[in-house]
Symmetry: C2
Subunit: 276 residues, 2 copies
Amino acid sequence: MGASSEGQRCRNHDDGTLTQIKGSGDHGAKQNVIHLTISPPKTSCACSQCSLREICLPHGLSEKEILKLDTTVATRRRLKRGQHLYRAGESFEALYAIKTGFFKTDTLLEDGRDQVTGFQMAGEILGMDGISAENHTCNAVALEDSEVCIIPFAQLENLLREIQTLQHHFHQVMSREIVRDHSIMMLLGTMRAEERLAAFLLNLSQRFTARGYSPQEFHLRMTREEIGSYLGLKLETVSRVFSRFQEEGFISVQQKHIRILNIAPLKQLLAHPQQP
Amino acid sequence: MGASSEGQRCRNHDDGTLTQIKGSGDHGAKQNVIHLTISPPKTSCACSQCSLREICLPHGLSEKEILKLDTTVATRRRLKRGQHLYRAGESFEALYAIKTGFFKTDTLLEDGRDQVTGFQMAGEILGMDGISAENHTCNAVALEDSEVCIIPFAQLENLLREIQTLQHHFHQVMSREIVRDHSIMMLLGTMRAEERLAAFLLNLSQRFTARGYSPQEFHLRMTREEIGSYLGLKLETVSRVFSRFQEEGFISVQQKHIRILNIAPLKQLLAHPQQP
DNA sequence: CGCCAACTTGATGGCTGTCAAGTCAGGTGG
DNA sequence: CCACCTGACTTGACAGCCATCAAGTTGGCG
């Protein structure tokens, strides 16, 4: 909507607070940046060596092509939990591929309200919102200690003109982001609280599975408030629905540790519009 | 909320019915396709001659570059009100630039629920959701008699590798779609009904203005139900809020004819999170 | 002129937000 | 090592916004 210019003050505060909770906040962030400048951890930074190469940007490339990509994606950045990878308003220079860790992105409204627009994990690309206006329109925050590969965008565009496979795949990655957003709009526009949480859990489970983790058991990196923000619910509602799911025997919840005990009823929640 | 009790079939019906109302439905669509095959209306189909070239794909291109684009974007397609430009599941071949007219896109959930994901007008690009999976994930329907320029995607990618300016601009167009989706997620996740409608009206006004139409006065091409679907509301709520806005003197509503009488309070609705 | 879809408006109810209190877990400092 | 403190979470009571159900009006079209 037209309502997109991000605001001035209030929410920055909220966000800052959250940041301080999760890690050491901005202070930590700056320390780390300084540390990086002193000794950049360029440890084994090649796509060609990366275990994620089939679910990340290099998907489908030949050996020769991946080696070309290596020259563009040459540096990494480490982030501690709570650090910002980028902030709304900062100039856009690069995309980031998540090597390890877990992120959230959120956008701000003028009046201070904000919303989590996504949770990202290994192999996913961050920063595509920044291409349109040459600066970022949302914040990206590490929800656990993380490492990202820096993909300078101007160089990437050069490479896309050379490597057709990469070009097409990059377009697919951007398109997938659009499709993903549509499904969240669907969730926000038509689903009830239980359905939203079920969809959320199933989505996480599926993405963890794709990365070799257990489909039934995982650790939530985000707070109830962040889940609620993402799903258009209040944290109390998230908590209540988790409790209800537990009472029904669908899942077991211990703080941030989730175990899916019976996946069928969760899926059914999404298949049926309502109980009648 | 999730109380969208329209089950697996009702909604498909609604959609079909709507189609038939607005134009001549599928029947008409097929007739038109046939007609196109017999005498393709390739009337003046050059980006270089198009009045929309600055807000559409050719934005920022040199004369020479636009002429190259002309060879790729060589055909148009006319659609009557209610006709589908494409449907979810159809194989993806091309993007479409709207030359004239007005569209909606909507996605379906397995259980039959659907949601309008956007309204598109002249100069905007349709079909980018299809890139990721090689087939469309949503329906695009003309809400008035319309004309689109067909942009075969494989050819476009070839061109993007030749013309750096075009490449960058195309990435910006895709990114803008992502940013737009984020602001709708924001709307759906955090705004109340009045705020949603205000944002909706202001957004339409702004986009009409950018196309040389009146900022204060315009004709809604979509039904209350489609507006509601887009904004995550029921049609009755849309109607009630329109009435409330009219009582307050913000707008005048006569069916689909909207006149904005006092824009300030509409903007204020978006600036203030709440009444306290 | 009659039909039908689109729309408006009213009455009612339910889902989820709000407010409030209390519990739990992890980290810090004595 | 333990007590304490803080933030995250849970749970309850209540209320409000919007959905639902229902009836009636309007406007376009055959």
